[in-house]
Each structure stands twice: as structure tokens, then as C-alpha cells.
Amino acid sequence: MSVVKRIASFFSERRILLGIVFAIIIAFVMTVISLRLYDLDDVSRLDVSLPNRESIRSAASSDEVQKFDASGPLDSKSLSDFQNLYTKNRSALDALGKYDADALSSDSLQIGPNE
């Protein structure tokens, strides 16, 4: 019983210190979990805010696409608005690279013939 009292007294006298230690442990665990999630998802791979990705950040398209409201009438104006947004996005997609095979050909890598 005296042992239990002594332990209780030990923790009671150091509540603030223990609270700080506990908070640090929780923060550490949460940070590890967050970084793990960041690594698992595409986020880390495509994060343009990283310091070594200035060139990508500046080249990535930044123009905001207007939203099309999910509710409302389906009249000629709304159809025209939708078509404008759709065509704008489609044109932007057509202008982007398509992962063509040439970039990895032996000729472009200068390592001899293909195969």
C-alpha cells in the first residue's frame, strides 16, 4: 500500500513535467503518422511546394477553372456555360504531354538500338 502511495505521490509531484513529456510523445507519434500518410499517398510525390521543385511550381498551370453549379435549370445558357468549361479543360489537356514512347527510346537515351 505504501508503495502505491509513493508512486501516486511521485506522479502527483511531477504532474507538469509528466504532462509535458506526454504531450511531446503524442506530438511525436502524430508527426510520424502524418509523415507516413504523406509518403504513402501521391502527396509527397507531387508536392510542388518542396524546395527543390521551383521549376515545376512555376511551370504548373495555375489558372483556376470555374465551377459549374450542380443545381439549376438545364437551359441553353447553362448548356453553353458547361460547354465552355468543358472545351477549355479539354483544350488544356490536349496541349499536355501524353507519355509518348520516344522519351525512353534507346536513341534519345543514346544507349544503342531499341530492345
Binding site: D42, R45, L46, V48, S55, I56, A59, A60, S61, V65, K67, F68, D69, A70, S71, G72, P73, L74, D75, S76, S78, L79, F82, Q83, L85, Y86, N89, R90, A92, L93, L96, G97, K98, Y99, D100, A101, A103, L104, S108, L109, Q110, I111, G112, P113, E115
Partner: protein, 170 residues
């Protein structure tokens, strides 16, 4: 003795097959070309990787915008009680294609990173094998892009049908 000789011949043939294939896949000249130029090739691959990443970011942004547009348009079509089941199925297929594209790009990017880190001067065959595998993954991404284009064309046709139906109903 007469029976043993063919058996030994078959066993020897089977044992030598992998070596014959290994030599047959890449000539000495090709191996030398890889050893000589692979470090520069790895630098080129890093540039391709950066360029691909930019394409992935921009395509991802546009594909997601298109998906939001489709979802909103489908909701509006449903709200106005217009019958267009094709639009919903195309949007679902588009979502599946988008999920596959994301996964395939991640696999491709991992394979690219691995290829740029190989000690290619000492392992030219491994470098070549992984390059061949990477090309297959890239072809897969190219096919996905074409798949997206086909789906977007189909969706456009569906939208045109809705427009015509609305004009007729007036």
C-alpha cells in the same frame, strides 16, 4: 549407354538455355554501349522524370476538374429529369480510369527512380531489363491517356444528345 547419352544431351541443353538467352538478349556491343553511356542516360532519365511529373500534376488537375464538371452536370441532368444514363456510366468509368492512372503513374515513377539509381556500369543487363519494364509502364500510361480521351469524346456526345433533346422539347 545408348539411353544415357540422349538424356545427358537433353539435360545439358536445358542447363545451357538460360545462358544462351542471356547472351542472346544483349550483344557485347550493346552492353558496352550501355556501360559507356548509361550515366548520361540516367541524367536524361531524371529530366524525363521531372517533365513527367509536371505532366502528371497538370493532367491530374485537369482530370479532376473534368470529373467535377461531369458530376455537377450529371446532378443537374438528374434534377431536371432528363434521361441520360450514358453520362452516369461514362463518369463512373472515368473515375475508375482516374484511379488506375494514379496508381500506374506511382508505379512508373517508382520504377523510374529505381532505374536512375542502378549502378549501371557494373549492372548493364539489370539496367536494360528495368528500362524495358519502364517502357512497358510508360506505354500503359499513354494508353490511359488515350482512354481518357475516348471517354471525354463519349461524354461530349452524351452532352450533345442532351442539348438536342432539350431543343426538341421546347
Amino acid at each position: 549407354m545408348k539411353r544415357v547419352v540422349p538424356v545427358i544431351a537433353v539435360v545439358l541443353a536445358l542447363l545451357s538455355t538460360p545462358f544462351v538467352r542471356a547472351e542472346g538478349s544483349l550483344s557485347d556491343a550493346q552492353l558496352d554501349a550501355i556501360r559507356t553511356n548509361c550515366v548520361n542516360a540516367q541524367i536524361s532519365l531524371q529530366h524525363v522524370q521531372e517533365s513527367d511529373k509536371l505532366t502528371r500534376i497538370n493532367r491530374g488537375y485537369r482530370y479532376e476538374s473534368m470529373l467535377k464538371l461531369m458530376t455537377s452536370f450529371n446532378s443537374r441532368v438528374a434534377e431536371n429529369k432528363v434521361d441520360a444514363p450514358d453520362l452516369i456510366s461514362i463518369a463512373s468509368e472515368y473515375q475508375r480510369t482516374w484511379d488506375s492512372f494514379r496508381t500506374e503513374y506511382s508505379n512508373y515513377d517508382d520504377a523510374m527512380t529505381a532505374l536512375t539509381q542502378i549502378d549501371c556500369k557494373n549492372e548493364p543487363t539489370t539496367f536494360n531489363d528495368q528500362l524495358v519494364a519502364l517502357r512497358i509502364k510508360r506505354t500503359g500510361l499513354n494508353s490511359r491517356v488515350k482512354e481518357f480521351d475516348t471517354l471525354l469524346d463519349k461524354y461530349q456526345t452524351g452532352v450533345n444528345d442532351v442539348r438536342q433533346a432539350q431543343e426538341k422539347s421546347k
